[in-house]
């Protein structure tokens, strides 16, 4: 967008000629949310504002018990071993990062005192280092002081391959050094526009106490007794843990945030399914909060008539998409199907890809399945807002799709299925097993049939579909189907890791044991150039423009057909005031939760 204008406005704010509020208002007028305007300011050299808090209670405790219902119960409580977000959620009750993300994608300080910026000198102008100041006087639950040593230790712990931490990707390439007891400096090997990855958020940022883990680094990591009984700095102290079933905690009377937390104890119950979790919160009120309620909206609307609870939504950047295979899944070359040496027999014709995109009835999918939890979109990249393209569009039009196919020479055969040069428009459509996904499949299949495309549906158990098992043909990276549908969550308010997956160097092949992340096997030089440039581009406006360009290239080539921009859906008791961010784990802002009396 209006590059120059934005730049001059940032300058005005910097000099104090324009007030921050006015800037944010102007940005809102062009479609940018406040937090993103803030982020633009931060990267443009203006200090990032901390997210405002809506927390009302004026004293610590007194809120009784908080009963949380996670239908997938956490199975371990060491955040660096988490096999899923559920484990990060559980650990986050006790452990804390330096900062987290609030509902608007603003950074919110937890164990740090200042948000690093170029202005306050904590963020290097070249993007190669960031310095964090730690809150003084913070104590671990066992009374030991929290210090810079704990951060350095957490880094060493996570980056050691023998520890087998899942957060190794975040810590492997950076260097963390202690400046003094309350200051650490993180150095990056190259300019890093998104510097808020290590020690930030519940995903990778939770800090471990050195004094309890020091003896259990590397190959001894699994023996640490604290893997199952965490000692953190968080608002609640650990009481009990039964894997997959129950976590209990009590208030931390020495918590470092004023008047927090509100609840005297917390309980996280696991197991069951999403629908009955919604019932237990919304209909019977047995629980205060239900996590990740992926349920048809009709069902939720009906439950809400009961009146004890309601659904809560948070906007993030998760996109449910249909990916198209650019290689031929039915031909085996050198022991590998979907080989880069082949071209997809049908999708090599752009008209087929475009027509297919026109046959995905996003409005019906929204109406019948996602409802309030979805937004229709033409983009693969749907957040944060400043990275979202306004240049794209979508439509659902069976006649137009049919005409497009006609024009491209795909004529209906005797059985009503279109064909050209002896190739029939028959498509295998696979996805993971999950109610909403099977319904989406049905809706897409029907439209395709009307346009003369035959669709065979296939669904694979999630644990197989998302497996890295080299021997299994049904995994999504192998992509032995024509199209496949799922989502890859965008777990932080920045698209860099997300978009890097589709570089042409990252194609999943037999040679790299299908560990490549580019499963559509789409190769585009312009895309590669844009992504690589964005990776080190420190100018926030130019960087956003690069990601928008990358998204538009995907759209032009119909690499992905975005089905739905999905929102987080949670269930909460009517009087509970949960703080949920689309950019963070559900428990990331737990210290700000309270109950309206």
């Amino acid at each position: 967008m209006l590059d120059k204008e934005l730049r001059s406005m940032i300058g005005q704010v910097k000099d104090g000629r324009m007030d921050r509020r006015a800037f944010i208002k102007r940005m809102a007028a062009v479609g940018l949310t406040a937090p993103l305007a803030n982020q633009i300011l931060a990267l443009g050299g203006v200090a990032m504002a901390e997210g405002a808090s809506t927390y009302k209670p004026t004293k610590r405790g007194g809120g009784g018990a908080l009963k949380l219902l996670w239908w997938q119960g956490p199975t371990l409580l060491n955040p660096h071993f988490a096999t899923g977000t559920k484990d990060q959620d559980g650990s986050r009750l006790f452990y804390e990062p330096l900062a987290c993300w609030d509902p608007d994608g603003n950074m919110k300080l937890v164990l740090a005192t200042e948000i690093p910026s170029i202005q306050n000198g904590l963020l290097a102008a070249d993007g190669k280092s960031v310095t964090w100041k730690l809150k003084p006087g913070v104590k671990w639950h066992d009374g030991k002081p929290f210090s810079a040593d704990d951060l350095v230790f957490t880094w060493q712990y996570a980056k050691d391959p023998a520890t087998a931490a899942i957060t190794i990707g975040v810590y492997r390439d950076i260097t963390v050094e202690k400046i003094d007891d309350l200051t650490v400096k993180i150095t990056f090997p190259k300019p890093t526009p998104f510097w808020a990855d290590a020690f930030v958020g519940a995903g990778a940022g939770q800090i471990l106490p050195k004094h309890l883990f020091a003896d259990y680094i590397g190959s001894k990591s699994r023996e640490a007794p604290t893997n199952l009984s965490p000692v953190g700095t968080g608002p609640y102290k650990f009481v009990e843990f039964k894997p997959g079933d129950l976590i209990r905690g009590v208030i931390n009377p020495d918590y470092h945030m004023q008047n927090r937390p509100y609840f005297d104890s917390v309980e996280m119950k696991g197991g069951g399914d999403a629908v009955s979790a919604a019932r237990a919160v919304i209909q019977t009120g047995e629980y205060d909060f239900g996590w990740n309620i992926q349920v048809e909206d009709d069902v939720l609307l009906r439950l809400e008539k009961g009146g004890k609870g309601k659904t809560v939504y948070a906007v993030g950047g998760d996109t449910e998409f249909i990916a198209l295979n650019f290689t031929d899944p039915n031909v085996e070359v050198d022991g590998e199907r979907s080989s880069m040496k082949t071209k997809h027999p049908l999708f090599s014709d752009p008209a087929v890809r475009k027509a297919l995109s026109m046959l995905v009835d996003r409005d019906s999918v929204k109406k019948a399945i996602y409802g309030r939890a979805g937004r229709t979109t033409a983009n693969f990249l749907n957040g944060p807002e400043k990275f979202v393209s306004k240049n794209t569009n979508w439509e659902f039009n069976i006649e137009k799709a049919a005409k497009m196919l006609d024009d491209a020479g795909w004529k209906p055969g005797a059985d009503g299925i279109r064909e050209k040069d002896g190739k029939k428009l028959k498509i295998l459509y696979q996805t993971a097993i999950n109610g909403p996904r099977q319904k989406t499949q049905a809706i897409v299949k029907q439209a395709c049939q009307k346009a003369g495309i035959d669709v065979e549906l296939k669904s694979v158990v999630a644990s197989v579909f998302f497996s890295s098992d080299v021997a299994n043909p049904d995994t999504y990276p192998k992509f032995y189907a024509d199209i496949e549908m799922f989502q890859i969550p965008l777990s932080q308010p920045d698209p860099s890791q997300h978009m890097r997956r589709y570089l042409s160097t990252a194609v999943a092949t037999k040679e790299n044991k299908w560990q490549g992340t580019n499963f559509p096997r789409w190769v585009n030089k312009d895309y590669d150039a844009a992504i690589n440039a964005a990776d080190t581009e420190m100018d926030p406006v130019k960087r956003a423009a690069l990601y928008i360009k990358a998204n538009d290239l995907m759209w032009e080539d119909t690499v992905f057909i975005p089905v739905m921009h999905r929102l987080k859906v949670e269930a909460a008791a009517n009087n509970l005031r949960p703080v949920i961010s689309g950019w963070a784990n559900e428990t990331d802002n737990l210290f700000d939760w309270y109950r309206e009396e």
């Binding site: 629908v275 048809e296 009709d298 097993i433 109610g435 029907q446 065979e456």
Partner: protein
Amino acid sequence: MAGLTLASPSAERRVYSPWRETWRRYSRHKLAVVSAFLLLVLILAVLVGPFIWRVKIDEIDIVAGLQGPSLAHPFGTDDLGQDILARMIYGGRISLAVGLAAMLVSVFVGTLIGALAGMSRGALGHGLMWLTDLFLSLPQLPLLLLLIYLFRDGLKAAFGPEGGIFILIVLVIGGLRWMPVARLVRAQFLSIREKEFVEAARALGASPVRQVVRHILPNALGPVIIAGTIDVAAAIIAESTLSFLGLGFPPDTPTWGRLLYDAKDFLDIGPHWALFPGGAIFIAVVAINFIGDGLRDALDARRVI
């Protein structure tokens, strides 16, 4: 005893051939006759139904979702507005075929293994009981995943997508449910083979096969028939869980069990959705069970009517 009674001609009673005798006894069991008729109607309905009720099974109309029974949709619609009657007719073929075929597989395998184990006094008996114990202890889910992984593509290639999957499902359901039958048959055999009439037959020089087929098996059939009739219901329901493993028919195939499963979350909004498939399963189960009861009474060698 039984054979004697049958063979002794009395002045008032006509002698029937064994098959007619069986039918004569069966037909006295009114519920069984009605049930056989009911089952026939069900089978006819799912076979002929599509030619009479010509609504498409996958015609989506979201506006008309979750409607109760009406003239346009006698059984109502599901949440995507698809016609439940059409789906039930289509799915009924699969459900009934899977239920009956899987039951036959499990009863046949179970009876065979149980009979062999019950007659054998040596290593064979131990071996077969070991096999039964093994199958009882196998966790079904990983086994199913393994089977899909190993055989799906091969069977698909050999018998076509529908036929291949049908064979796989029947074999899987039947193949994982024969163990209770085998144990029951063996237990019956252990007891019956020591009874006087079997000993008498043995003393008269009846071969082991003749002992089993003519004397022991007919007396051991009671639990087998019960297990078989229960298995039909279990197989219809098991089929629906298989499609959640990607093993069953494609996810859009509306079998009865699958319809019931899909309907469960809408039970308070659209009870009709669950009511019809649930009712269909129930009717099929009742019919098959009464037929089983009738057969049992008819085949019971000891009962004289």
